[in-house]
C-alpha cells in the first residue's frame, strides 16, 4: 500500500512510525558498522511491509507491531551487538 505520503496519520501509523524511530534510536547505541547494518535491515523490512501489507489488515499489522516491539526490546539490550536477518517467506500470512 506504500508508506503514508502526507495528510493526517492514523493512530496505527503513528505506532508504526514510533516503532521505526525506536529501532533507529537503538541502532545509534551500537558500533558504527553495526549501526549501518541495523539501519539498512530495519529500513528494508519496514519498506517491504509498507508495500506488501494491506493497510486495512489491522490484525496482521497489530501482530507485526507486537513482534517488532519484542525485537526492539531485544535489540535495545546492551548485550545485543547486532542484528542478523533470515529471509523466510510466509506466503500464507500476507493475504488478509
Amino acid at each position: 500500500m506504500g508508506a503514508s505520503t502526507g495528510a493526517k496519520l492514523s493512530g496505527m501509523q503513528k505506532q508504526v512510525l514510533g516503532l521505526y524511530r525506536g529501532f533507529l534510536r537503538a541502532a545509534r547505541t551500537k558500533s558504527p558498522e553495526e549501526r549501518r547494518q541495523i539501519e539498512s535491515i530495519v529500513s528494508a523490512e519496514f519498506r517491504r511491509n509498507s508495500k506488501l501489507v494491506d493497510r486495512k489488515n489491522f490484525i496482521y499489522i497489530e501482530y507485526l507491531l507486537r513482534r517488532g516491539k519484542k525485537q526492539l526490546d531485544q535489540l535495545s539490550s546492551p548485550a545485543t551487538v547486532g542484528l542478523s536477518y533470515l529471509n523466510v517467506d510466509y506466503p500464507q500470512t500476507r493475504k488478509s
Partner: protein, 126 residues
C-alpha cells in the same frame, strides 16, 4: 593565611588535560567535547545558521534532489518522500543539533519550516 593555603593547594593541583585528550585518542572525541561546551550558555545559534544546517541535512538525504530544497519545502508533498523518510530526516536533525525530539513533536515536523521553527525554539539546540 587563606591565600597562602590557596596557592599551596593550587601548586599541587595538576589538571591532566593533555592526558585525557591523548587517552581519548581520536579526533572525534575532541570535536564533540568542544561542541558540547559551546552548546552550554549564552551563544545560542542564530536562525540563519539553523536554516543553513537544516537545509544541509535535508539536501544530504539520499532520496532528495538537493536543487529542490528550500526553507519552505514540505518533505512529503514537495520532495516526494514518504512517512518513513520523514522519520529518518527528523532523526538526522536530532543528531545534527544534538537534540532528542519526543515522538509527539517529531510526528508534527513534516517540513523544513517546522523543523527550523522547532529547533530555533529549543533551548538545547547546538
Amino acid at each position: 593565611m587563606a591565600s597562602a593555603l590557596r596557592s599551596a593547594v593550587l601548586r599541587h593541583i595538576r589538571v591532566p588535560v593533555a592526558e585525557t585528550l591523548t587517552l581519548n585518542g581520536s579526533k572525534w572525541s575532541l570535536i564533540s567535547n568542544v561542541r558540547s561546551m559551546s552548546s552550554h550558555g549564552d551563544d545560542h545559534i542564530t536562525k540563519e545558521e539553523i536554516i543553513h544546517r537544516v537545509l544541509d541535512v535535508v539536501k544530504s538525504f539520499p532520496k532528495v534532489d538537493p536543487s529542490k530544497v528550500a526553507p519552505d519545502v514540505h518533505f512529503q508533498k514537495d520532495l516526494g518522500l514518504d512517512s518513513l523518510d520523514n522519520v529518518e530526516i527528523v532523526m538526522a536533525l536530532e543528531e545534527e543539533f544534538k537534540l532528542e525530539i519526543p515522538d509527539k513533536e517529531a510526528d508534527k515536523i513534516d517540513s523544513c519550516s517546522l523543523a527550523i521553527e522547532y529547533i530555533h525554539n529549543h533551548p538545547m539546540a547546538s
